[in-house]
């Protein structure tokens, strides 16, 4: 049976339903919550297999099902689902690995009181991740991208009463959000330039030739092609989500979450979403390859960032002592490899490595989880030791995972996928620097993994917890075995002699001959790394937990710097956080003193005007009126003094007046 594009929505819908069930299940309903989650994901797995069958029927086709979400202007905002080999393979991987991790979690989270909530969030994550994979619209992808981020936030901070976990969750969200802002801007630009966000839409989609030609043809800021600019902005999102340099700082801290979370989200799936995104929009990223006059090509940036990250992660991992943090930095490094592969032009190699990495990294994390669970949550490898005796299944599967990661030749999948990447890097016409960086990282990868295995599993138990460790239940060891089998078998899907995977993903893929020399070189490097690792850490496994690391003795400054993760966190704290806090203080001070001060000034002016008004009224107007009235009264008073009561006086006045009148008549003109 095969799935068609219009039925793809079922794949994320099942886990979403399980999440809803989990949200409404009370604390005691463990079986219900876990059962719903596992059944839903199993169903999604079967559907994904169906989708794969459907996609394999015609690997070159992009089968779509687009639909309208809501009205906007004359048209609508459209979303869609896409069925092609990339989607189908990713879905199969995610559901399968997820299923195994879900089963593992039933054992690992046994003692946790918030069991049901855990499975609710896990299902939510699975739904969002699967939605991301089947999306035919950058908008739908972005929506699921953010939801995946939220699920990651909820899961990293699952033990939220621990301040470190709460802080780590916030750090993860904020750091990825910085990258997501770039993705948002890229998406808006793309929408503005092409009027659509659908990838494939009967010739109108943004990954189809018409749109790509337009985007590559336009030039923007700094002489960059528009497609380059958009591609780089979208890459910002991938940098954040996939823990590339310089936004890698959240990934090690994310290990505060329960180990199944680290396995699922921060090893196999969510962090791979960045790689998937670039692979999905690869035509857009590669649109500027033909242009000569541009200052930079999008994929070159991807390649260099990937190479730097690959080396950076490996170097820092060498000096870590926490089991999960070594694996976290290892993930950072491996993601760098994938980005490198994308950048040098071989996205199929990147996806191949993504798929193999998902299995063996999940295996390693689950193995670490098994160890941690057995050793009562002891995570420091210096405190472990001698576990290979009591925990045989864990040890063997962990060793298989290690060999796959290190790239032990032929038998293990990691070797073939890494080979493909190195081959592509070697053949890159722009520069060989990423290739050399990748080679150094190969050595370091083998080295630090050997260090880990030697210290954790060999020697004598160095702590109480290690002494009393014993193998875990089938629920936990079963998935380990299954993953180990996949870690071996999967490689055979992509060997240069039978590149089934590559050809399925990209029907135009041509296997190149002449890779034997490179293969020999990488085998030598891997052997070198394993050898040195065994020489330093395996011949004389450390005796006590507090003994200094042999390398720390030889290069204490470097060791301390690496142990401190090369000071990125401190640097960001001193710059970005300070800047942020400064901006906040500035904004607040601006409000309180400047803007509010201006208002207070206006209020004072208003009050002053009021005072002036009052004074004018009372003193000027009222007072003036009063004074005038008083004057009038005084005048009246003084005038009344004319009335003397003296009759003779009146008569005298009459006489004088009469005389004056006569004189006036006589002298004044007579008639």
């Amino acid at each position: 049976m095969s799935l068609s594009a219009s039925q793809l929505w079922l794949i994320p819908a099942l886990p979403l339903l399980a999440a809803a069930i989990g949200a409404l299940t009370p604390r005691g309903g463990r079986k219900l919550a876990a059962g719903a989650a596992i059944l839903a994901l199993a169903g999604a797995f079967l559907l994904s297999c169906g989708a794969l069958v459907g996609a394999l029927a015609d690997p070159a086709q992009h089968l779509v099902h687009n639909f309208s979400w809501f009205d906007l202007g004359a048209g609508t905002v459209r979303l869609g689902f896409l069925l092609d080999p990339l989607t189908a393979l990713m879905c199969v991987m995610v559901t399968f690995v997820g299923l195994l991790i879900f089963i593992f979690s039933t054992g690992y989270m046994q003692e946790d009181a918030n069991f049901t909530r855990f499975f609710c969030f896990l299902s939510l994550f699975a739904a969002a991740m699967l939605g991301l994979l089947v999306a035919n619209s950058l908008l739908l992808l972005f929506i699921c991208w953010e939801l995946v981020g939220v699920a990651s936030y909820l899961l990293i901070g699952f033990w939220f009463h621990k301040p470190e976990a709460a802080a780590a969750a916030k750090k993860a969200f904020i750091t990825t959000r910085i990258g997501d802002l770039g993705l948002l801007l890229g998406m808006l630009w793309l929408y503005d330039a092409t009027g659509s966000l659908l990838f494939y839409d009967a010739g109108q989609g943004v990954l189809e030739n018409a749109a790509l030609a337009t985007l590559a043809g336009q030039v923007t800021v700094g002489g960059l092609a528009v497609s380059t600019a958009i591609g780089l902005l979208i890459f910002c999102g991938a940098v954040g989500k996939s823990g590339q340099f310089p936004l890698h700082v959240w990934l090690p801290d994310a290990m505060e979450g329960p180990t199944p979370v680290s396995a699922l989200i921060h090893a196999a799936t969510m962090v791979a979403a960045g790689v998937f995104l670039i692979a999905r929009v690869y035509p857009l990223m590669a649109a500027d390859q033909a242009l000569v006059a541009v200052p930079v090509h999008a994929l070159s940036v991807v390649a260099f960032i990937g190479a730097i990250t690959a080396l950076l992660g490996a170097v820092i991992a060498v000096a870590q002592n926490d089991l999960k943090r070594i694996l976290a930095f290892s993930t950072v490094s491996q993601l760098g490899y994938m980005m490198l592969a994308l950048g040098v032009g071989s996205w199929v190699a990147a996806i191949f490595h993504l798929l193999t990495h998902a299995f063996f990294k999940a295996l390693l994390f689950l193995g670490a989880g098994s160890v941690i669970h057995a050793a009562h949550h002891e995570q420091d490898i210096r405190q472990l030791g001698g576990l290979r005796g009591p925990m045989k299944i864990t040890f063997i599967t962990f060793a298989i995972g290690t060999m796959a990661l290190a790239g032990v030749p032929f038998l293990f999948s990691g070797f073939w996928s890494k080979e493909a990447i190195l081959h592509a890097a070697h053949g890159w016409s722009v520069s060989h620097l990423p290739f050399y960086l990748a080679l150094v990282a190969v050595v370091l990868t083998a080295f630090y993994m050997t260090r880990l295995v030697m210290q954790a599993f060999f020697g004598r138990p160095r702590s109480h917890a290690a002494e009393h460790a014993h193998e875990n239940r089938v629920a936990m060891t079963g998935p380990l075995v299954l993953l180990a089998i996949c870690a071996v078998l999967l490689g055979f899907l992509g060997t240069p002699y039978w590149p089934w995977l590559q050809r399925t993903l990209d029907p135009t893929f041509k296997a190149e001959a002449g890779g034997a020399g490179l293969m020999v070189l990488s085998i030598v490097l891997v052997a070198f790394g394993l050898g040195i690792g065994w020489a330093i850490y395996g011949r004389h496994v450390r005796a006590t937990a507090t003994a200094p690391d042999p390398l720390a003795v030889r290069a204490p400054g470097l060791w301390a710097a690496l142990g401190d993760r090369l000071g990125f966190d401190a640097f960001y704290a001193a710059t970005v956080f300070k800047l942020n806090a400064g901006a906040a203080a500035f904004a607040d001070a601006l409000d309180r003193h400047v803007v509010d001060g201006a208002i207070r000034l206006l209020v004072r002016l208003g009050e002053f005007a009021g005072v002036v008004h009052r004074e004018t009224d009372e003193d000027l107007l009222n007072g003036g009126f009063d004074a005038a009235s008083r004057g009038l009264r005084a005048g009246g008073n003084s005038y009344s003094k004319v009335q003397t009561g003296d009759a003779h006086g009146y008569l005298r006045a009459v006489a004088l007046g009469f005389v004056a009148l006569v004189l006036l008549v006589m002298l004044g003109g007579g008639r």
Binding site: W69, F70, D71, L72, G73, A74, L139, F142, I143, C144, E146, L147, V150, G157, F160, H161, K162, P163, A165, A166, A167, A169, K170, F173, I174, R177, I178, L181, L184, L185, L188, W189, Y191, D192, G195, N580, A581, A583, A584, A585, F586, A587, D588, L590, D591, V595, D596, A598, I599
Partner: protein, 511 residues
């Protein structure tokens, strides 16, 4: 429609307020049910209007137009279009929930309910009136009950906050009044639709003066100032943090949910249609002011220790997005593709108006519950590990918080996305700067979540923190349900406003 539906919408709450004022001997139970019923009337009428509303018609529907003051050419003119319907429904949802939230207030519930209903009626009057006289009447009338509600039932700094709020807003409104008086003298009409028509066909420019002339500029600035204070537009916003913080929880919910939207409505109904050319002329400085509101608002929120002030600044940030969209549209010049971006920006602004009302009201309610449970404390340092003690409360608040943050899948995303899409198409640099606002919003909201809900139990949580119970569900659950539903099905809102917004963009006069 023969029944005067719109007059009923406006007058029932006001009449209810008067009724409550008269019933001196009413029992608390009677007061509660009566006030809730009267408040729900808005929602009931609004849903009725929704059923009979035709989204394809761009002009006002359910029109009531009667001659009022003949000598001044003033009519009693009420009309409902997509934007007003959206706001009526928002008021209809937020008001009853705020009233339910007020049932915990012990002092003088009858007077509180009466004042609140008066406030609700005044807000509805603003959203439905289409002639300046009674529009302004309701605009000013809304200040009076708000003042008393803040002053009499508010926190320790309530008196000062209430005075500042009242005087500041009234000061702005004075300029608005003068501006419209000048418009009346120039054109002889106070009808918004007629004025818009005069602006469109150039008559207004002929009568008032061309764009740069002193008369036109003063009138425009007067109207702008009056509206800017209400939204608020940076830097006329300093009344907002104190007023929102000191007001009692239900009043804060209403202030942020409905009253702030009155300002945005004013911009879209009055300023832009009547003064498109002047708005275009100063669009770039206004864009900077809106950006200041977005970025500085979010960063200032980061710095606050009082939780209500933090949410208040977040309101400033979200409303500035709406203004950003409008100003970006106003700044548009150039070829036709701008129309797509303009439609997107305007549609986003309207959706954001509705969605922000819901999420901000929910957040204020959550902070109100925190304040209640802790005996009046609402500093960020006063709590810790609330999620351990009250997981359901934490879950519901978390959904509201992520909606405010703009998480896709919840209602806040669609509006923000459309606004950014539109602004990017019209003024890309503004969209890039506004991204800092998004980042700062994420930081402060998550910091709030981390300090209050995560971590070990501390502060007021130690003394016991009961989970959400009884009537509190009745406030939270509808809001959260709407957040999820509208996040998944934004067509419910977009369908109402899309023709209107398309028409506006179509009328965009591009110089």
């Amino acid at each position: 429609m023969n029944a005067p539906l719109l007059s009923l919408i406006v007058l029932v709450p006001i009449a209810g307020a008067a009724l409550l004022g008269l019933l001196r001997q009413a029992q608390p139970g009677t007061v509660r049910s009566l006030s809730l019923g009267l408040s729900l009337s808005t929602l009931a009428f609004g849903l009725f209007a929704l059923r009979h509303f035709d989204p394809a018609v761009v002009g006002p529907q359910f029109v009531e137009r009667h001659r009022w003051m003949g000598a001044l050419n003033v009519h009693y003119f009420l009309g409902l279009d997509g934007m007003s319907l959206l706001l009526v429904l928002l008021t209809g949802i937020v008001s009853p929930l705020a009233l339910i939230a007020s049932w915990r207030i012990p002092q003088n519930p009858r007077l509180f309910a009466a004042l609140f209903l008066g406030l609700q009626g005044a807000a509805l009057g603003v959203f439905l009136a289409l002639d300046f006289v009674h529009w302004f009447l309701f605009w000013e009338l809304s200040l009076v009950p708000a003042f008393f509600l803040i002053k009499l039932w508010g926190g320790p700094g309530a008196g000062r906050a209430a005075y500042q709020f009242f005087v500041y807003t009234m000061g702005g409104s004075a300029f608005l009044l003068v501006g419209f008086a000048a418009l009346f003298v120039a054109t002889g009409t106070l009808d918004f639709l007629q004025l818009a028509q005069l602006a469109r066909d150039g008559t207004l420019a002929a009568k008032l003066g061309p764009v740069g002339s002193p008369a036109a500029t003063f009138v425009f600035l007067g109207v702008l100032l009056g509206l800017a204070v209400k939204v608020p537009l940076w830097p006329f916003h300093t009344w907002l943090p104190s007023a929102y913080a000191e007001a009692p929880t239900p009043v804060s919910m209403f202030l942020t949910g409905v009253m702030s939207k009155m300002g945005v409505y004013g911009f879209l109904r009055l300023l832009w249609p009547i003064f498109p050319a002047q708005l275009h002329a100063i669009a770039t400085p206004l864009l900077w002011l809106a950006l200041a509101g977005v970025v500085l608002g979010a960063y200032a929120a980061l710095r606050q220790t009082d939780l209500k002030r933090m949410i208040a600044y977040s309101s400033l940030n979200h409303l500035s997005y709406c203004l950003l969209a409008l100003f970006a549209v106003a700044s548009a010049s150039g070829p036709k593709p701008s129309a797509d971006a303009a439609v997107s920006a305007l549609s986003g602004a309207l959706l954001q108006v509705f969605n922000h009302g819901l999420s901000a009201a929910a957040l204020f309610y959550a902070v109100g519950l925190l304040e209640d449970r802790s005996g009046g404390r609402r500093g960020i340092a006063d709590f810790g590990g609330v999620r351990t003690a009250a997981p359901i409360f934490a879950g519901l608040t978390g959904i509201a918080l992520f909606s405010s943050l703009g998480l896709p899948g919840l209602n806040g995303f669609v509006g923000e996305f459309l606004i950014f899409r539109g602004v990017f198409g019209l003024a890309p640099w503004a969209a890039a700067v506004a991204c800092f606002g998004l980042l700062a919003t994420a930081i402060f909201l998550l910091t709030f979540w981390q300090r209050v809900f995560h971590g070990p139990q501390a502060g007021a949580t130690l003394a016991g923190f009961p989970d959400i119970r009884g009537i509190e569900y009745a406030v939270f659950v509808p809001l959260v349900a709407l957040m999820i539903i509208l996040g998944l099905l934004p067509q419910l809102l977009a369908g109402l406003v899309n023709p209107l917004v398309s028409a506006w963009a179509g009328q965009l006069v591009l110089p």
